[in-house]
């Protein structure tokens, strides 16, 4: 008797009997788990485990209590630095995974059509032999780029298995799909890259929130996305910091905040520009900051939009030097790149000047001109923020000294995600509110084990890769997906994957803990172990954490740490995989870096969590920036071809194509009870959030005759899904929200990933013009631009 997920949820209260009989030891163990009351008895052993829900990137540690081989309780593992000690509601519930009756138990191959759910059990031997032979076939016929090994976050993050798999991937010289469809992360990185030249999450450590009078969160649901950090925000609030939340939905962060500013998705640029306009009109901007550290005073040619260079006005002049207009001498003055102060110079930020017959304006004048295109009425209409609120917010920011802007990934989940993410940063630049950026967390410098030789995978942006597989550019025939629920996360499940990539593949392997939507369509499904059953080294802030197996791998599951070497052996690369899991970790620790001095595997085995010997990481501070001019660049020449050299509001691609037909914007936020598509099958968490729901404003609901609890059909040209409506004031008219986490089995019909756009067609245009920097490009999936209509089903 195989339970569907729905059936499991309903019968969860009577787990012990019939289910136990079906599952053998797993069921009995689950029964034991639910029967046990936990006394503080001597026979309980504890062990440290990295939290599997680490999609939040907080890398918390859990302490698991094991009694007679059963994990009976989870708590937060105590860290040497107690500020890092934390377990959120998901972490605490992680123990419910280990004995979940729907875990994959043995390797299987499909015997029906892909997605038909017809499986036959096979041995690991047969699985490995098949994968190896198909891989060899593909490589012989199509070359090394016919193989795509894709590690993911699945049952746990920071996985050793990912690194071992990447080691094989590199040796095979297959393709590597980098970047993400799914998040606004890339857009934020591109934004900070354009402004400051730094492609990593930028700004203060959250510990410093308390230093500010006003702390603004832009599209960053910190309470639910970074639960451990929330304590700092609460502390700041208690000590007088005013918390402002800017975003489309009134979520937990907004509820705790002192001020909720309701910006529509895609409206951040308009809001920021409207505010900048008011500030510039009122002369309320940080003149010194703009003059000294930004591109503000640098003259820009009116004819071609490029910065005026020394080489433009002087023979033999350098292309590297820029020109400003000195208001003291009333002449053009050449300045080198960087922010070193030039004595006796007072460059203008505004005005129009002619230098050697070339008309120029300081970049700040251009920004002012641009901002002037967003008077209050227009800014309000495009952003959804009431005019009075824009004015109040602008005045407050302009007249408060200690303000911090914490920009999240929300604004970036758009076709114009980079523009949207740039906007709040630009605002912060204008007011000189860039944070104090004291040191961040320390980290260990470990050896990488992914490069056995010089051989390396070919990195392709994942949007280009999926498109390339569809149109034959990339002859990928073998795709080994480890713990990445692509159908769920990467739009569009049908267009990109089921009808796009899959038909081109000879072999599709998924390595998973559960039969996810993606796994259902595989040719071979391999059962992964959970974090409780395998060895792993993770890097929480300031520490190293060794996860040691607490229980034997359950059923016929195998950690991919042990899988890759066996596959490598069959492919002739066995010599590079001569280590055990412990051996890999020893190699990682043997970097010789001072941060890991004195930290051995033995020490980690006995202590579990060890503080690294590194000082706190100095945070990037944009003085000088790594931009071409060495200054903060809110004016980016490189984006002239697409008209985005300055902040600007642009309607999304969807708006242009479908705005009239589909008037509602569907966004799919995350809530703190689930982590991407993980934890939705944990019974305790489903008691709190039993079913998917569609948040809809009463105005939109009434206009369509949809009542609270009615089944609603959400649709557009790409697909549809059915879900119960929840009439809510938490969002404004014109926006719909459904938490993305649930699986198709949980929805009444369909899934949001069927209506959300395929990423490869809708790539952020910046991707095409902006040079990428290794792994951190500007590409993003415009997930939240999704336009739909809804009706009562």
């Amino acid at each position: 008797m195989k339970l569907t997920r729905r059936e499991f949820m309903k019968t969860a209260a009577v787990l012990s009997g019939a289910v136990g009989a079906d599952l053998g030891s797993g069921g009995k163990v689950l029964h034991a788990l639910s029967e046990s009351k936990v006394p503080l008895a001597q026979e309980i052993k504890t062990g440290v485990v990295t939290c599997p829900g680490n999609g939040c990137h907080q890398n918390c540690g859990l302490r698991a209590y094991v009694q007679d081989g059963v994990v009976v309780k989870i708590d937060a593992a105590p860290f040497p630095d107690p500020a890092v000690t934390h377990a959120c509601v998901k972490g605490l519930a992680s123990g419910r995974w280990l004995y979940h009756p729907e875990r994959l138990k043995y390797p299987m191959k499909r015997v029906g059509e892909r997605g038909s759910g017809q499986w036959e059990r096979i041995s690991w031997e047969e699985a490995l032999d098949t994968i190896a032979s198909k891989t060899k076939e593909a490589r012989d016929q199509y070359g090394s780029q016919s193989v795509w090994i894709a590690p993911g976050s699945s049952s746990y993050y920071n996985r050793l298995g990912n690194d071992v798999g990447a080691r094989l991937g590199n040796l095979l010289e297959g393709v590597e799909g980098w970047g993400w469809f799914t998040s606004g992360d890339n857009a934020s990185l591109a934004a900070t890259g354009l402004l400051f030249g730094y492609y990593w999450f930028f700004g203060d450590h959250i510990r410093d929130a308390v230093n500010y009078k006003t702390y603004v969160l832009w599209g960053y649901n910190l309470a639910e996305s970074a639960p451990r950090d929330m304590k700092y925000l609460l502390e700041a609030k208690e000590r007088g910091t005013k918390i402002v939340y800017v975003g489309p939905v009134f979520n937990k962060t907004a509820a705790v905040a002192d001020w909720f500013i309701p910006v529509k998705h895609g409206g951040d640029s308009a809001l920021a520009l409207g505010m900048m306009n008011l500030m510039i009109e009122g002369g309320l901007y940080d003149v010194e900051h703009l003059k000294s550290y930004t591109c503000g005073p640098l003259l820009v040619r009116s004819d071609n939009g490029l910065y005026l260079r020394e080489s433009d006005i002087e023979a033999g002049g350098s292309e590297e030097n820029y020109v400003v207009w000195d208001s003291v001498t009333n002449t053009a003055v050449v300045v080198p790149p960087g922010t070193a102060p030039v004595p006796d110079l007072n460059p203008s930020l505004l005005g129009t000047y002619t230098v050697d017959g070339i008309e120029c304006k300081p970049a700040f004048q251009l920004l002012a001109d641009r901002a002037a295109e967003y008077p209050l009425g227009r800014a309000s209409q495009l952003s959804g923020v009431p005019q009075e609120t824009i004015r109040e917010f602008a005045m407050e920011l302009a007249t408060t000294e200690k303000v911090y802007h914490n920009v999240g990934t929300g604004p970036g989940r758009a076709y114009h995600g980079t523009l949207e993410s740039r906007a709040p940063f630009t605002l912060a630049v204008v007011t000189g509110h860039l944070g104090i950026m004291r040191a961040g967390g320390a980290s260990a410098t470990l050896n990488s084990i992914t490069q056995a030789t010089e051989a390396k995978t070919v990195p392709v942006f994942v949007g280009d890769l999926t498109q390339g597989i569809k149109d034959g550019t990339y002859p990928v025939k073998v795709y080994i997906n480890v713990g990445s629920n692509k159908f769920w996360s990467s739009p569009n499940a049908r267009i990109t994957w089921i009808e796009g990539v899959l038909p081109k593949l000879d072999l599709f392997v998924t390595y998973e803990v559960f039969m996810t939507w993606t796994a259902q369509y595989a040719d071979i499904v391999l059962p992964d172990t959970t974090i409780f059953e395998s060895l792993n080294l993770s890097t929480p802030e300031d520490h190293l954490l060794l996860t040691q197996p607490l229980v034997e791998p359950m059923y016929d599951c195998k950690s991919d740490t042990d899988f890759w070497p066996e596959l490598a052996q069959r492919l002739g690369f066995g010599e590079y995989f001569d280590k055990t899991a412990e051996g890999w970790i020893e190699e990682q620790l043997a970097s010789g870096d001072p941060s890991v001095e004195g930290i051995t595997l033995e020490r980690l085995k006995s202590e579990g969590i060890v503080r690294v010997n590194a000082p706190p990481t100095p945070l990037h501070y944009p003085r000088p920036c790594r931009t071409p001019s060495g200054r903060i660049e809110f004016y980016n020449e490189i984006l002239l071809p697409i008209g985005e050299e300055l902040p600007i509001h642009k309607d999304s691609l969807e708006q242009e194509q479908f705005g009239s037909k589909y008037p509602l914007n569907l966004i799919t936020t995350r809530i703190m009870f689930f982590m991407q598509s993980m934890y939705t099958n944990v019974d305790f968490l489903r008691e709190i959030i039993p079913d998917p729901y569609l948040e809809i404003n009463p105005t939109d609901a009434d206009a369509r005759g949809i009542g609270n609890g009615d089944v609603a059909r959400v649709f557009n040209d790409r697909g549809e899904f059915k879900v119960k409506a929840r009439i809510s004031q938490a969002l404004g008219p014109g926006t719909l929200n459904t938490p993305h986490h649930f699986w198709p089995e949980d929805f009444i019909e369909g899934h949001p990933s069927l209506v959300i756009g395929p990423a490869e067609e809708d790539i952020n245009p910046i991707q095409r013009v902006y040079p990428t920097f290794g792994n951190n490009g500007s590409a993003t999936g415009c997930l939240w631009d999704c336009l739909v209509e809804v009706e009562k089903a």
Partner: protein, 192 residues
């Protein structure tokens, strides 16, 4: 004065994450469907546990959360009405149900103003939050207090004016829920 255990809930620090409710289930080995602790959403009237529905009209909204353990009342109505004398109050104030004596009449479920006792259909008796007496007796705090990283819950002797919990209640003007019921709960709420 005689010790009486109690709690202070600092609602300005509660984000409604329900970690306390889940922690309680784990600590006490509770089944699906059995919850000794709940967190209510105070927003739109009628919002169920787990539904973040704010009060007000967009965008002028408000929402906060109310964690509800057993109040371990000074004057517990559950104890007064129990026909089986299954409910008793310890010297330190903790109110406990003796499942051996309980006959499952559910009268305490009716009598509790906070709807705290829960009928367990698997064994036909009623159970409820014990302030983790088994932990308290070993010098530890209740597990729900232990897991709350935001400092929204403080546990201690409310009869001792120098205890952390008493000082917090005094400083932030703690109040009890439904004082007119006359049961004198030992759990105080501060803020939000």
């Amino acid at each position: 004065m005689v010790k009486h255990y109690g709690m202070a809930m600092d609602l300005s620090r509660c984000i409604g994450c329900h970690a306390c409710s889940i922690a309680c289930k784990i600590e006490n080995g509770l089944e699906v469907g059995m919850n000794w602790h709940r967190v209510e959403t105070i927003g739109e009237p009628g919002a169920k546990v787990g539904e973040d529905l704010p009060a007000g009209t967009f965008p002028d909204l408000s929402m906060y959360w109310l964690p509800i353990p057993c109040m371990h009342c000074i004057n517990p109505p559950c104890m007064a009405v129990c026909p089986a004398s299954a409910i008793s109050k310890r010297a330190d104030g903790i109110v406990l149900i003796d499942k051996e004596k309980c006959i499952g009449c559910k009268y305490c479920v009716w009598a509790c103003p906070y709807e705290v006792p829960q009928f367990n259909p698997l064994d036909g008796t009623v159970e409820k939050c014990t302030f983790c007496a088994h932990r308290v007796d070993q010098g530890e705090e209740p597990f729900c207090v232990h897991v709350c990283v935001y400092g929204a819950r403080v546990f201690g002797d409310i009869n001792d004016p120098h205890s952390e919990v008493s000082k917090l209640i005094a400083r932030k003007h703690g109040r009890v829920l439904l004082p007119e019921q006359g049961v004198e709960p030992a759990v105080y709420y501060l803020g939000p």
